[in-house]
């Protein structure tokens, strides 16, 4: 099954794409590529060719933000956006590159979160109180295994069925944690689940926690960026566009898809661990239908054609959630978010990224989005 993925057919593609890059990035800005013929290290060449002003700007912004913004903003808005961006990234990877819209991503995150609460230290007596060094890897393992199982179940059918099956699984998990008291502590859930104090730093304080989230979000983002250019990533996009043809070419479509679920499970698991630390608690409400759908809302809002969309969507979502209260009644937040979601799906199916691309098409020099566009059959 694994050997099919590294077949020679797809190998040249990513490399050819990288080699063709200098004509685009450097020349487009009117600069001469100083490394064109030199023997400089590969990573330096790579950086020069892919980095643009906007990358440096965004990096400086996210690094400096916590020193300028208030602790409230750093923790409640920025860190939370990063966490939900990471969870939404797991969905937009599956949906954007694999063509599988899974609504169970929040459940996978919740499974990791529950694992941290059940196995680690919490305010509830039934927690086992293990050391975080064991608990966190175990939680991630559980998330990956569960996600793989969910994937194995849902790739047996395809397309629109995936949404139904994953939604059913997600809601079933919600009812399980709600009804079960022996393991999941029912309606109460677990309180006082805090990040550990490591290296003398209290990771719960806004600044360290923000950088913790930033580190893992960026890791996840670059991981996906790298992964979609590997033979596996190319094969996954192939199964998205035409599963039958990929099958005929000798690729194991099921294995590719299940593997994509495993990868997304890892991302969602990391997000879930961070989320339970962020909230300091986990309860059935954290994995309820509302949140299952909110993750989809975030991913669609940002746009699923590029990994950055998940984070864009999360920022808009969290900003709306935090500040919409001042403009309208807090109770009506769902109406606002539902309306925004409807408007996006109706008028700009590619989300904010799609809007941005349209604006650039109209006003700027013509360029395309990085991910290959998917055409509806």
């Amino acid at each position: 099954m694994g050997t099919g993925l590294t077949a020679a057919v797809v190998r040249p593609l990513p490399l050819a794409a990288v080699r063709a890059a200098p004509a685009g990035a450097g020349a487009g800005l009117g600069m001469v590529d100083p490394y064109a013929n030199s023997n400089a290290p590969r990573w330096l060449k790579f950086l020069w060719r892919t980095l643009a002003a906007r990358h440096v700007f965004v990096l400086a912004f996210v690094l400096l933000l916590p020193f300028v913004a208030s602790p409230f903003f750093t923790y409640q808005v920025a860190a939370q956006s990063l966490i939900f961006g990471l969870i939404a990234l797991s969905l937009s990877f599956l949906a954007g590159y694999g063509g599988m819209v899974s609504l169970a991503q929040m459940s996978v995150a919740g499974m990791a979160g529950y694992a941290v609460a059940v196995l680690g230290v919490s305010g509830t007596a039934s927690s086992l109180g293990w050391h975080w060094g064991i608990v966190v890897p175990l939680a991630l393992l559980i998330a990956v295994v569960c996600s793989t199982l969910i994937g194995w179940l849902s790739v047996r059918t395809d397309g629109i069925y995936t949404i139904m099956i994953t939604l059913a699984i997600g809601v079933a998990f919600y009812y399980l944690v709600l009804q079960n008291y022996t393991v999941f502590n029912g309606f109460q859930g677990f309180q006082k689940v805090y990040p550990p104090i490591v290296l003398g730093i209290d990771w719960r304080a806004p600044l360290p926690f923000y950088f913790l989230c930033l580190f893992w979000s960026m890791t996840g983002y670059f991981f996906i960026q790298w992964l979609v250019r590997t033979p596996f990533g190319i094969a996954l996009q192939g199964t998205r566009d035409n599963a039958r043809r990929m099958n005929a070419l000798g690729f194991n479509v099921t294995a590719t898809r299940v593997l994509a679920y495993a990868v997304s499970g890892l991302l969602a698991g990391v997000g879930g661990v961070l989320l339970v630390w962020y909230n300091g608690l986990i309860s059935p409400g954290s994995v309820g239908t509302g949140w299952l759908i909110n993750v989809l809302v975030i991913a669609v809002l940002g746009g699923m054609k590029h990994p950055i969309g998940a984070f864009l969507g999360a920022i808009v979502f969290i900003l709306l959630q935090t500040f919409a209260i001042d403009l309208i009644d807090r109770e009506r937040f769902n109406l606002v978010i539902g309306g925004v979601f409807l408007a996006i799906v109706l008028f700009s199916p590619d989300g904010l990224l799609g809007l941005w691309a349209k604006l650039r098409m109209r006003f700027g020099p013509s360029q395309v989005l990085t991910s290959t566009p998917r055409r509806q059959p």
Partner: protein, 316 residues
């Protein structure tokens, strides 16, 4: 197709544990077992009524209407208000059906028609709609729990049944509703012109259009009927279960599982799926309360593992 040996093995594997459990439960507490049986079948009727609309819409339009649960809740609330104003339960039933049907018609004509053939986008629109509808209903009716009164004729228990002793008349009538709706759907699909068109559309949409049928009209009628059944179920369920935000999710989950297990687009499949889900859920709650969801889940997994398209499902 399965060979004879395989079929026998499946029957033994699935039927064996159930038979053992039944014998144990009957000996242990006959009344509990029989009451639970009645409870599960009546719950299954409600699930069937709601899920048959879901499966009908899916079968014809390949459109997963995730706002189905919200339409159920809408029907329930409208029925409640009408019953409170008029005092007639039958009128409430009709009003619930009509309200959901009109809402469904509007959704189909105003929104879904514009994106015909884009399954994923249609599904996402229905997700957005379900958020909006649920929140508007919460706005109007608040989070209060509403319970509708059963019609006078069906109030109170029926007494004097052997072993069971007494059983709620209204609950028993659910069984009748389920069977009536089942027969009605069978008649509609197999004995009328519209039904012929719907069945033809399920098999081959493009061919139906080529044969000169106004497919959009058939779609609209089907969506209306499917949504209406959800509203109808809402009024019935408003008496037995209660109406509170969150019920929409519950019924949506039930509909999803029923059609996944039973086979998408098949009305008999919905009946089988509803019966299985009703039995699993109720027996689970009666005999192993904290793990009842697990049974439902195991059924889902087993069915998907062996029949990915559901029990009555056909390859697309």
């Amino acid at each position: 197709m399965m060979t004879r040996g395989e079929r026998l093995a499946t029957v033994l594997l699935v039927g064996g544990p159930i038979a053992v459990f039944s014998v144990w439960a009957l000996v242990d507490n006959t009344r509990l077992y029989l009451v639970t049986m009645l409870n599960s079948l009546t719950l299954a009727s409600l699930y069937f009524i709601v899920a048959s609309g879901f499966t009908l819409v899916f079968g014809l339009m390949r459109n997963v209407n995730l706002a189905h649960g919200s339409l159920y809740l809408l029907g329930g609330y409208v029925g409640y208000v009408v019953a409170r104003e008029t005092g007639w339960w039958i009128i409430a039933l009709a009003a619930g059906f009509l309200a959901a049907a009109i809402a469904g018609l509007l959704i189909q004509v105003l929104i879904l028609k514009r994106m015909q053939g884009q399954d994923l986008r249609q599904t996402m629109v229905t997700i957005g709609l379900s958020i909006v509808i649920a929140d508007v209903l919460l706005w109007i009716f608040t989070g209060q729990v509403y319970q509708m009164e059963a019609p006078e004729l069906l109030q109170g228990p029926i007494r004097g049944i052997p072993i069971i002793k007494a059983y709620s008349a209204y609950r028993l009538s659910l069984l009748g509703f389920g069977i009536a709706i089942g027969i009605f759907l069978w008649w509609l699909l197999n004995r009328t012109r519209v039904g012929t068109m719907i069945r033809a559309g399920v098999d081959d949409r493009a061919m139906l259009a080529a044969a000169g049928v106004n497919v959009n009209l058939v779609f609209a009628v089907t969506f209306m009927l499917g949504a209406g059944l959800a509203g109808f179920g809402g009024v019935i369920g408003a008496v037995e279960l209660s109406m509170v935000p969150g019920e929409d999710t519950r019924l949506l989950l039930a509909s999803l599982i029923v059609v996944i297990v039973g086979g998408m687009g098949s009305v008999p499949g919905a009946a089988i799926g509803a019966a299985i889900l009703g039995l699993a859920e109720t027996y689970g709650l009666a005999y192993a309360p904290t793990y009842s969801v697990v049974f439902t889940f195991v059924i889902l997994i087993v069915v998907l593992a062996f029949r990915p398209r559901g029990i009555m499902g056909r390859p697309a």
